[in-house]
C-alpha cells in the first residue's frame, strides 16, 4: 500500500510541478480577463472546446461555460458530464483561478497524457468559472479586504431587494432545504440572506436548469474560499446523507491527493450548517457526487479572501489531482460489477438493474438465521492488476427504491482484494437475519459497492454506476390467484410518488398480474395536507408516500394454464419526488422466478 502511494505521489508531483498551460496566473483575472482567457483557450483548442452562454445574471451579464470534449459541437448522451463551477460568492477570487487553471491544464495535457486523453474522450467536461458575474464585477470596482465595507468584500449577487438593500447569497438560494434559519438568513442585509424563495435568483435558476439539462451527469465540484476544507453533503444538517460511506470515501481520497502535492491537508469538518447549498441540491435531486472545496488560505493563513496572487498556482496545482480523479472515476469502468447478464459496464446500464449475475449465495434459497456463502465476482477492464480494491456487501429488505449504500442497508462484510484483469471471485460469510422481512418472507436484496482509489462510485444508484450492483431475486411457487408481495419505502427526504409497473410483454399471453388500485393502496398510507396539495398540483398518478413511509403491494397472479417452465415476473418501482423542476426517478425492482402449479 505504502509503495503504491509513494509511486502515485511521485507521479503526481512530477506532473504538477511543470505547469503545461498557456494562461498566466501571476495575478487574479479581472472579469473581462476571464472572458479573454476562455476565448484564448477556445482559440488555442478549437477542436476540443466550445464556449456556451448558459444564461444571464440578474444584471444581464452572461454566465459562460467552457465545454471540453473530443467533439464539443455535439451533445453526446453516452458521454458522462462532469461539472466544475466557481464564484458563487463574489469575493472568493481564487476560486475563479483554480477553475481556469483546471481548464488550461486539462487542455494542455490532452496531447501529452495518455490516461487523461482517454478519460477526456469519454466525457463532456464543463467549467463555469463565474457563477456570480454581477457580484464579481462589483468586487472589482474598488476596495480591499482590509476594508470590510468595501465592494471587494462583497459576497452576494447584486439583486435590488424590495426594501432597498442589495444582494442574495447564491449558495443559500438552492432549492433543497431552502430557508432553514439554522443555516441561512431571512434578513436582507445579511451576507447569508437566502432570497425571497428557493431559486429566486436568475444565477441559481440558470445553473439548476443547466444541470437538469445534462443527460449523463456524473459529478459536481463548486469551488469556494477560504479555509482549506473539502466539504460534502449534507450542509443543511449535521446528520449524514444517504450514501455517506461513498461520499466520505471520495472526499478522503481527494483530501489525500490534495495533501500529497504541497502538504496542505484540507479538513472535512465544519462546525456550522448552511441550508440552500448547491451540493445538497445536487446530491438530493441527482444523487451525483458533489463537493465544495474551500480553497487557500488556511484559517490561520494570510490574506483571507484576498489571498496573495502568489498562492494561485500552488493552490490550483494541489487541487488538480483531486479534480482529475473525479474525471477518471467518471470516465469508464475500471473495476466493476454487472447489473444483469447483458451489462457491459456502460453507465447507465440498460435492462433490469437488480439481477446481477455477479452476486449469488450458496445455497441459493435463503433461510432465516442461516450462515451462507455470499459469492461476488468483480470484473476489471483496466488491463492491469488493480490492487487494494474494497468490496462492501450489504443486505436490505428489498423495498424497491434501492440504492447502495442506503439508510437501511446493513453491512454484511468488507473485503480488500487485488483484482487481476481476468476478474476476481470473493466469498464472504453471511448469517441471514433472524425472522423475515417486513411482509413475512425470507427474501432480502444483496447489494455490492466496489471502491478503488482510481475508480470510485459517483452515485449510490445501482444502474448509474458500474461500481454498484444488487441482486433481488426470489424463487416462489404460485397457484392461480396466489399473492406475490412487494413493498416500497420512500427513502427520500421529501414526499414522493411511487409508480409501479411489471414486464407484461414478457409474460405468457394468458398470465395477468393484478395490482391493487392506487386508491386502495393510498388508504394504507395517510398523507399530510401539504403533500396532498403538491400531489394535486403536479397531477400525480401513482401512490404518494411521505418520507419514511412503506407501502406493501400484494400482486395477485392469474393464469389459465400451467406453463412448462418457470416464469420470470419482474416488478419495477420508481419514486418520483414531489418537487418543482425535473423530477428524477429513483427506482429498483424485484424479479420472481415463479413456478406455477
Amino acid at each position: 500500500m505504502k509503495t503504491i502511494n509513494s509511486v502515485i505521489t511521485a507521479c503526481l508531483l512530477f506532473s504538477v510541478s511543470s505547469f503545461a498551460g498557456i494562461l498566466s496566473f501571476t495575478n487574479f483575472h479581472t472579469p473581462p480577463q476571464v472572458d479573454a482567457a476562455l476565448t484564448t483557450l477556445h482559440n488555442t483548442y478549437p477542436g476540443q472546446t466550445s464556449i456556451i452562454t448558459i444564461g444571464t445574471s440578474y444584471g444581464g451579464n452572461p454566465m459562460k461555460a467552457l465545454k471540453i470534449s473530443s467533439n464539443p459541437a455535439v451533445n453526446d448522451p453516452t458521454k458522462g458530464d462532469v461539472v466544475y463551477v466557481a464564484l458563487h460568492h463574489a469575493r472568493e477570487w481564487i476560486s475563479v483561478e483554480v477553475a481556469l487553471y483546471l481548464a488550461d491544464e486539462l487542455l494542455a495535457r490532452y496531447s501529452t497524457d495518455a490516461t487523461l486523453h482517454a478519460d477526456m474522450d469519454r466525457l463532456q467536461i464543463w467549467i463555469i468559472p463565474v457563477v456570480n458575474p454581477d457580484g464579481y464585477a462589483y468586487t472589482a470596482t474598488w476596495g480591499s479586504c482590509a476594508d470590510v465595507t468595501s465592494p471587494r468584500m462583497w459576497r452576494k449577487n447584486r439583486r435590488l431587494n424590495s426594501d432597498g438593500t442589495f444582494g442574495v447569497d447564491l449558495n443559500r438560494n438552492w432549492g433543497y432545504q431552502w430557508g432553514l434559519l439554522s443555516g441561512s438568513s431571512n434578513t436582507t442585509t445579511d451576507d447569508t440572506y437566502h432570497g425571497t424563495g428557493a431559486f429566486s435568483e436568475p444565477e441559481t435558476t440558470v445553473l439548476r436548469d443547466f444541470l437538469n439539462g445534462l443527460t449523463n451527469f456524473k459529478s459536481f465540484v463548486t469551488y469556494h474560499s477560504f479555509s482549506e476544507l473539502y466539504l460534502r453533503p449534507w450542509s443543511y444538517t449535521t446528520s449524514d446523507p444517504p450514501g455517506e460511506p461513498t461520499l466520505k470515501s471520495i472526499a478522503q481520497r481527494n483530501i489525500n491527493l490534495i495533501a500529497a502535492v504541497h502538504g496542505h491537508t484540507y479538513s472535512e469538518n465544519i462546525w456550522y450548517t448552511s441550508s440552500g447549498e448547491a451540493t445538497d441540491w445536487v446530491w438530493q435531486e441527482k444523487r451525483v457526487a458533489a463537493f465544495t472545496p474551500e480553497l487557500r488560505p488556511a484559517p490561520t493563513g494570510a490574506g483571507g479572501f484576498c489571498v496573495a496572487a502568489s498562492e494561485i498556482i500552488p493552490c490550483a496545482e494541489e487541487n488538480f489531482p483531486a479534480a482529475t480523479a473525479l474525471i477518471h472515476d467518471a470516465a469508464r469502468p475500471g473495476v466493476w460489477i454487472r447489473d444483469n447478464a447483458g451489462d457491459t459496464g456502460a453507465e447507465p446500464s440498460t435492462g433490469y438493474p437488480w439481477e446481477s449475475p455477479d452476486i449469488w449465495t450458496v445455497p441459493a434459497v435463503l433461510n432465516q438465521n442461516a450462515t451462507v456463502d455470499l459469492h461476488i465476482h468483480v470484473s476489471n477492464s483496466t488491463g492491469t492488476n488493480m490492487q487494494n480494491v474494497t468490496v462492501d456487501a450489504y443486505y436490505t429488505d428489498p423495498r424497491i427504491t434501492l440504492e447502495f449504500p442506503s439508510p437501511t442497508a446493513v453491512l454484511i462484510g468488507s473485503a480488500v482484494v487485488n483484482v487481476p484483469p481476468a476478474g476476481k471471485d470473493i466469498v464472504m460469510s453471511w448469517t441471514t437475519p433472524v425472522g423475515t422481512n417486513i411482509w413475512g418472507e425470507l427474501h432480502w436484496c444483496v447489494g455490492v459497492v466496489i471502491k478503488h482509489k482510481e475508480d470510485m462510485p459517483l452515485t449510490t444508484i445501482v444502474n448509474r454506476s458500474s461500481n454498484i450492483a444488487c441482486h433481488n431475486f426470489n424463487t416462489t411457487t404460485v397457484v392461480e390467484g396466489s399473492i406475490i408481495n412487494v413493498a416500497a419505502t420512500n427513502f427520500l427526504n421529501v414526499a414522493a410518488e411511487l409508480v409501479i409497473d411489471f414486464n407484461r410483454n414478457e409474460l405468457p399471453p394468458d398470465w395477468k398480474l393484478e395490482l391493487p388500485s392506487i386508491k386502495e393502496l393510498q388508504l394504507r398510507n395517510k398523507i399530510l395536507p401539504p403533500t396532498t396539495r403538491k400531489s394535486r398540483l403536479l397531477k400525480t398518478q401513482g401512490i404518494i408516500l411521505e418520507p419514511g413511509q412503506t407501502v406493501k403491494i400484494p400482486v395477485k397472479v392469474h393464469f389459465a394454464k400451467v406453463p412448462a417452465k418457470e416464469v420470470l415476473v419482474r416488478i419495477k418501482g420508481d419514486l418520483l419526488p414531489l418537487v418543482a423542476g425535473k423530477r428524477t426517478p429513483v427506482g429498483n425492482g424485484y424479479t420472481f422466478n415463479v413456478t406455477a402449479k
Binding site: 444584471g59 454581477d134 464585477a137 462589483y138 470596482t141 482590509a146 476594508d147 470590510v148 465595507t149 468584500m153 459576497r155 447584486r158 435590488l160 424590495s162 426594501d163 432597498g164 438593500t165 442589495f166 432549492g175 431552502w178 430557508g179 434559519l181 439554522s182 443555516g183 438568513s185 431571512n186 434578513t187 436582507t188 442585509t189 445579511d190 451576507d191 447569508t192 425571497t196 424563495g197 428557493a198 429566486s200 477560504f226 479555509s227 465544519i270 462546525w271 456550522y272 450548517t273 484559517p299 490561520t300 483571507g304 479572501f305 421529501v494 399530510l528 395536507p529 401539504p530 396532498t532 396539495r533 403538491k534 394535486r536 398540483l537 403536479l538 414531489l578 418537487v579 418543482a580 423542476g581
Partner: protein, 206 residues
Amino acid sequence: MSALLLFTNFCSCHRNTKGNMDLEPTDKRPVYHTTVGDADEAEILQQQLLVETQNVMVPDLWFYAKDESTLNKMKDLGYDISKSELKHVYSKVVKSEPLTDEQIKAFKIQLINREKDHFVIRGTLEQLSALQNKGIKLMPLDYEPRPREVKVIVSRTEDVQKASEAGLDIYSTQIGKEREIIIYGGAFDYAIDAMKNLKFNVSIIK
C-alpha cells in the same frame, strides 16, 4: 454604471409635503397570503400555477396572482387565501435618528447597525410610518449597510452554530492556544448584540 445604479436606487425615496419620508409602497400590485408546508410547495405553486412569489418564510407565502382564476384554482386545491395590506408586506431599510432599546422594541423595528449619528433600521412600511408619526426622524439610506469585521471566541464547537444562527457570517474558524475556538467573520450590530447575549466574547476588529 453600477455605481450610478447604486445611487439612483438609494435616492428613490421621496419626501412628502410634511418633510417626512414617503413610506408608500411603490409596487401597488395586490399581494396575497397563504400558508405552505415547505419551500418546495411554494416552488411547485410557482411552476404549476405561475404564482409569483413575493416572499416565503415557511409556513407563510406572500404572492402575486396572475388573475382571479389563479386564486380560485388555489382555493380549490385547499389553500386559504387572504389579501395582504401592502404596508404590512413591504419593508424598507432606512436611517433613523438614534433610538433607545425601548423604542426599538415598542415599534418592533429591526436594528441593523448603530452609527455615530444615526441608526440603520429595518421595518415594514407600517412600522416605519408609526415611528415617523411619533416624530422620529427617518432618512433614506444613501450607502449600503455593511457588517463589522469581528472576532468571536467560544469554548464549544456547538457555539459556532449558535454564532451562525445569531447572524454571524463566518469567514474562518480555528483552534486557539488554549483550545478555545476563534471565529472571524462579519456581523451587523444586531448580531453582535445577540452573540453578546449568548455570553460569547465578541470584539470588533473594524
